[in-house]
Symmetry: C2
Subunit: 293 residues, 2 copies
Amino acid sequence: VLPTGEVVSTGGRFLKDVAGYNLTQLLVGSEGTLAIVTRAICKLIPRPRFQKSLLVPFGSLEDAARAVGEILRSGVLPQAVEFMERNALLTAVEHLGRSVPHQEAEAQLLIALDGNSEDLLDAEIETIGEAVMACGAVEVLLADDPRRQEELWSARNVIGEAVKKISAYKEEDTVVPRSRLPELIRGVRAIAEKYAVRAVCYGHAGDGNIHVNVIKTSITEERWREIIGPLTHEIFGLTVGLGGTITGEHGVGLSQKDSLGLVLSRPLIEIHHGIKRLFDPNLILNPGKIFDL
Amino acid sequence: VLPTGEVVSTGGRFLKDVAGYNLTQLLVGSEGTLAIVTRAICKLIPRPRFQKSLLVPFGSLEDAARAVGEILRSGVLPQAVEFMERNALLTAVEHLGRSVPHQEAEAQLLIALDGNSEDLLDAEIETIGEAVMACGAVEVLLADDPRRQEELWSARNVIGEAVKKISAYKEEDTVVPRSRLPELIRGVRAIAEKYAVRAVCYGHAGDGNIHVNVIKTSITEERWREIIGPLTHEIFGLTVGLGGTITGEHGVGLSQKDSLGLVLSRPLIEIHHGIKRLFDPNLILNPGKIFDL
């Protein structure tokens, strides 16, 4: 529904469409600033019959990052390649109140694989196992039933919750080319050290999309409020400098809009403003989000 | 390069990006009306080590269309699922000057599969073979070396050329939900019969994207010029009525712009005009394409 009250429909129950501009993708991710979506057609895939997971610890960030690349070059397409660095692991362990395998590892990858043939799945696991061992993996732990998979994923599954419980925090949704992951993590660590806060990095390594959580811990409230702006801006400067962007999933909203200029040049910002005015001449939809007008 | 001379960059060497509106996809497929693309970053996948093809003839369009759905529900993701109806086969055979297997079939599917493990590939072929036989396939012909694959694909590979050589023709790039393919083909046949021209349908069944070629054959030039507009409009009315669209790959350009109103309502057309004016206030880029301003 356009803010002028008109009801329009873009896309459809088909896979290809090049009739005019891609308004569907213009609306997707527009954070409620252009129209209100009241109906969406989604492409579904059948639920795969089998799923298995691998937990792979590494002695260095570089090895883990290299392994992500090799996994995706192997011809196998995993359902997920998730990453946790040491700080994230230890934060999760603290929260769980019990140890997890290889919790002292510099980095861990969690790889989920699925498919309809168990034989094919096992062959893929073999391929991935070889790829990660060739990148210096310490070990490959396999979980092939739901209970054991739950166990392997336990640290990853609680990390978001664990971060929130420590103290005030801010989560950034950084994206870099996958090969730049070690530089991102090291850069974030240096920034955190400079401001005397804790940084915890984890997320979707297969997409180069890492959630960087900056945790207040022991500094004063006043100091936290003072530093959080410049600190965030430094992290975004780092991701953009590595050829990345400032948000992969979460969007811009209110909290990232001051950094939008890092990724969009002036003419592109003006095009954003023009598109907003075109769809919403009275500026009534979700005002103040993404950018000010 | 924007028509105002400014050089901008959208997207990057990363997989996720939700920082602002999706201008990359707005520019892709804009047919040179919004900007000139001077550099593109493409996502590549490694070339699979093995490729095999299946030729599957069917006694009815419905069986072939049902098989397309079953193939894609089987959990196997083919590289291609191509379709040729009888008229297309016979046109190709005429052009080749020799017979091809099952050339009298009501419809043929050509399925290409690839992967890095020959064992996995053979298991996938087994799965697909079972799926198509359960849908009433007459036979499954397998080609596992390049020379035999070339042979299986020979009719499909010459059909475009074959159509062009007969007489004047017009190619439409129709898209429908895959399940509606039989209705599309039958509808096109009825329209062709009404105007006494030949229709040849083939294309990317896996995408629901069928190239409908209307061939002048023996009617006069004058009559051809008279009917081609209304005939095209009827075919597009049919595809849109089946929940599809008027172009899947080829774009709108000059020849489809009169039919754009079939898929875009007035407010959406106005948004197109506004986007064009926003990017190109002097209307200097590819004027007259997609729509008139």
